[in-house]
């Protein structure tokens, strides 16, 4: 399949979210019709788009972002770009706040952001402008302890779990933030 993409501009108006989701999903359906895109994948794509847009309303600090949906061979890429606040995350264990780009990063930075239920969300940064998210499962935690340890934040967790790969990049030259979700359509 030839590379193909759509760009959608979002003005951080939450009322627009359902309409934009539908537009994006129509594009995904059209462009993946030769690839096996299961209902399960369809739902995951919808959740990622929803959370990227919700994240834009809540956290980006700007009134404008661009959503780019791209299908290239067997990879579906969902990307959100904005020029708002760069990524900022609190390490759960210490309370320290890390802001990207991380100055004087030497080696690899990795910490837990939060855990909800039995999923623990981690971020790893090997370059000052990048952050990659992944999940580790906590075993043997049951209710009610499970609830006590559960945070009320789910956006990054949903995007990380739904995607095959989910990461953040900051471009210092343009001051553009990019959140990128990848789906390998062969896996779905």
């Amino acid at each position: 399949m030839e590379q193909d993409r759509i760009r959608i501009h979002f003005t951080s108006n939450r009322e627009e979210i359902p309409g934009i989701i539908n537009t994006c999903l129509e594009h995904v359906v059209q462009r993946t019709k030769t690839s096996p895109s299961s209902p399960d994948t369809f739902s995951k794509v919808k959740w990622v788009i929803t959370e990227l847009l919700t994240n834009a309303v809540k956290h980006s600090g700007t009134g404008y972002c661009t959503l780019i949906i791209k299908v290239d061979n067997d990879t579906l890429t969902i990307e959100k770009q904005d020029e708002g606040n760069p990524l900022s995350l609190r390490e759960q264990a210490t309370g320290n706040v890390f802001r990207w780009p991380i100055e004087s990063l030497s080696g690899k930075l990795e910490f837990q952001i939060y855990h909800n239920g039995i999923d623990s969300l981690f971020v790893t940064s090997e370059h000052s402008n990048c952050a990659k998210f992944h999940i580790e499962e906590l075993e043997g935690v049951e209710m009610p302890g499970l609830l006590i340890d559960t945070s009320e934040h789910f956006g990054l967790l949903i995007m990380t779990k739904a995607s095959d790969e989910f990461y953040y990049e900051y471009d210092p030259a343009t001051k553009v933030n990019r959140f990128v979700s990848l789906f390998n359509l062969k896996n779905h």
Partner: protein
């Protein structure tokens, strides 16, 4: 108003009215749930029968409501979740935190 509330045999049945359980109504939902707990409900059965999609903000409000309810010995059950909504709760393992039933009747059986 996000919830339509009905009392049946000491059980509070709270049906979410909007089709989209999202950032737009998450805060109001949380306030209405906390009010139900504060007003003496013992078991709140939240019906998702109208809800076609849910986002992280609404999920956060659900967790806040349960965290407020449990120390007060109030339980919250979730019923009538459409597959897409249930699948999202399962993805993030909230099915281990909330008691989820197919419908109100099944929830009532479990509460006995």
């Amino acid at each position: 108003m996000v919830l339509q509330v009905k009392e049946t045999d000491n059980v509070t049945q709270a049906t979410i009215l909007p089709q989209e359980a999202s950032l737009a109504n998450a805060e109001m939902f949380k306030e209405e749930m906390i009010t139900l707990v504060a007003n003496g409900a013992k078991l709140i059965v939240v019906s998702f029968e109208n809800v076609n999609y849910i986002d992280s903000s609404f999920l956060g409000s659900l967790v806040v409501a349960l965290k407020y309810a449990m120390p007060r010995n109030v339980d919250i059950y979730l019923v009538s979740l459409k597959p897409d909504v249930k699948n999202l709760l399962t993805l993030i393992r909230m099915d281990k935190v909330f008691k989820i039933f197919n419908d109100f009747g099944e929830a009532m059986e479990a509460s006995k």
